[in-house]
């Protein structure tokens, strides 16, 4: 009887993880046709649009400004690189990855987009089929309504890579 209980307990807690391992890395990289990132090539980077305005003035190199009926938009590409470990020669465990992004602070005035995906404080999927080892360019845009008063705009975007 006691043996049966031991077997039952063992079955309840039995689990068997796979033994092989995949290592994942993430880095942000300046896109050749986009704005230069500070910290490019690392897992933490930043960019500055400087002081810009809807009409007139200049925008930094690699940044495009467009003006619509009631808002204006700054856009630039930048790259994300997700790699698997060099030892993962045979793609047994993961052949692609999912990349999500979310804003750290809510912004009810401006619209932040990544590859046309509107960002919020809830993670949104940027790609579900990311290719390992490929520096992938994503279009980033920030849209500001004309109703916004002149002020500094800042935020943090958190990118998360998870193996598929």
């Amino acid at each position: 009887m006691r043996r049966s209980w031991l077997v039952l307990i063992a079955l309840l807690f039995w689990s068997r993880p796979a033994s092989a391992q995949v290592t994942l890395t993430i880095a942000f990289v300046s896109d050749p046709s986009g704005i230069t990132l500070s910290g490019s090539g690392t897992s933490s980077a930043s960019l500055s649009f400087g002081t810009v305005q809807a009409f007139g003035g200049t925008v930094p190199s690699g940044v495009t400004k467009s003006v619509a009926g009631n808002s204006w938009t700054l856009s630039t590409p930048f790259d994300v690189l997700v790699q698997k470990g060099a030892l993962d020669v045979i793609d047994l465990l993961s052949t692609s990855y999912t990349l999500t992004a979310r804003l750290q602070a809510a912004d009810i005035q401006d619209t932040w987009k990544f590859n046309s995906v509107v960002l919020s404080t809830t993670a949104a999927t940027i790609t579900a089929t990311g290719i390992y080892g490929s520096t992938t360019s994503y279009g980033f845009s920030l849209t500001v309504p004309f109703s916004a008063s002149a002020a500094a705009i800042s935020n943090t975007i958190n990118f998360t890579a998870v193996a598929n």
Binding site: Q21, T25, I26, T42, S43, S44, S48, L93, T125, T156
Partner: protein
């Protein structure tokens, strides 16, 4: 079109090109990745854990995060249930999914600070509920450290480990009929099949495309890389055959093997 169902199974998929290797003339070139440049990034290992367990079972896993940058990083650990909505994976915060596993996550420690070059290990303990509705959890190292630069837009990186659960052997992967996209002067012959995981367990189907002459002689073979499908997930597997075929009748045979068995479909086509 001849369809041979050797073993009932389940499968599904959503639209990318399967990376493949040719055989012959190149014997089994298993798409070894090109040497990767070492970048000062964050690294997480393992990135995938596949668990076979039973309902109410607990399991503990050690995750290792390494800081290969020159900056001190802080992470908090978060668990998300990975569910399929409209064919897409969605990461749902712990506690928001009925029958979820993420709500049981216990991280030890719940946060880590990493100096440049340092590694840390975190043990995550997860318990499958009695009536689980999900089969995958993402354990995320949520990076809190923003680059101390002059920018007003900051990017931080986070990495997550995917933990999948097979709670039974009842895998049900369904493979659609193959379709042929003929070769042209500018594009290769492509054979596509829709895969769908119609069961309740994760599956990792992999396969082979074989091109046969009308007489049955093997012309070439292409390995289809494994692709993980969570329950409810679909995938459009498109396999390219990179060699030019001479005019004539051919048959493409696509075989997928997974935890539920083997499925083979074939389709005849003609090269003008």
């Amino acid at each position: 079109m001849q369809k041979t169902l050797i073993c009932m199974s389940t499968l599904l998929l959503s639209g990318i090109l399967c990376r493949a290797s040719d055989f012959p003339p190149k014997p089994e070139q298993q798409s070894a990745p090109a040497p990767q440049a070492q970048v000062p990034s964050l690294a997480l290992s393992p990135a995938v854990i596949m668990v076979k367990a039973s309902p109410s079972a607990s399991s503990a896993h050690v995750l290792t995060i390494t800081n290969l940058t020159n900056t001190r990083f802080r992470f908090v650990l978060e668990a998300f249930d990975v569910v399929i909505r409209d064919g897409q994976r969605v990461f749902v915060p712990a506690g928001e999914t009925e029958g979820g596993i993420a709500r049981s996550a216990i991280f030890d420690p719940p946060a880590v600070d990493l100096n440049p070059g340092a590694s840390a290990q975190v043990k995550v303990t997860l318990t499958v509920p009695l009536d689980p509705k999900v089969r995958a959890v993402a354990a995320i190292f949520h990076g809190l450290t923003a680059f101390a630069g002059k920018g007003n837009l900051l990017f931080t990186g986070s990495l997550g480990t995917l933990i999948t659960y097979n709670l039974s052997d009842k895998v049900d992967v369904r493979v659609g009929a193959p379709t042929v996209n003929p070769q042209t002067e500018r594009s290769n012959l492509t054979i596509s099949e829709q895969l769908e995981n119609a069961g309740r367990e994760p599956a990792v189907p992999k396969g082979t495309l074989a091109i046969l002459r009308g007489t049955g002689e093997l012309v070439g073979r292409v390995a289809i890389q494994p692709h993980r499908l969570l329950p409810g997930e679909k995938f459009n597997c498109a396999v390219e055959y990179s060699h030019n075929l001479r005019p004539g009748k051919y048959r493409a045979m696509v075989s997928f093997v997974h935890e539920g068995g083997l499925q083979t479909n074939s389709v005849e086509f003609q090269i003008q």
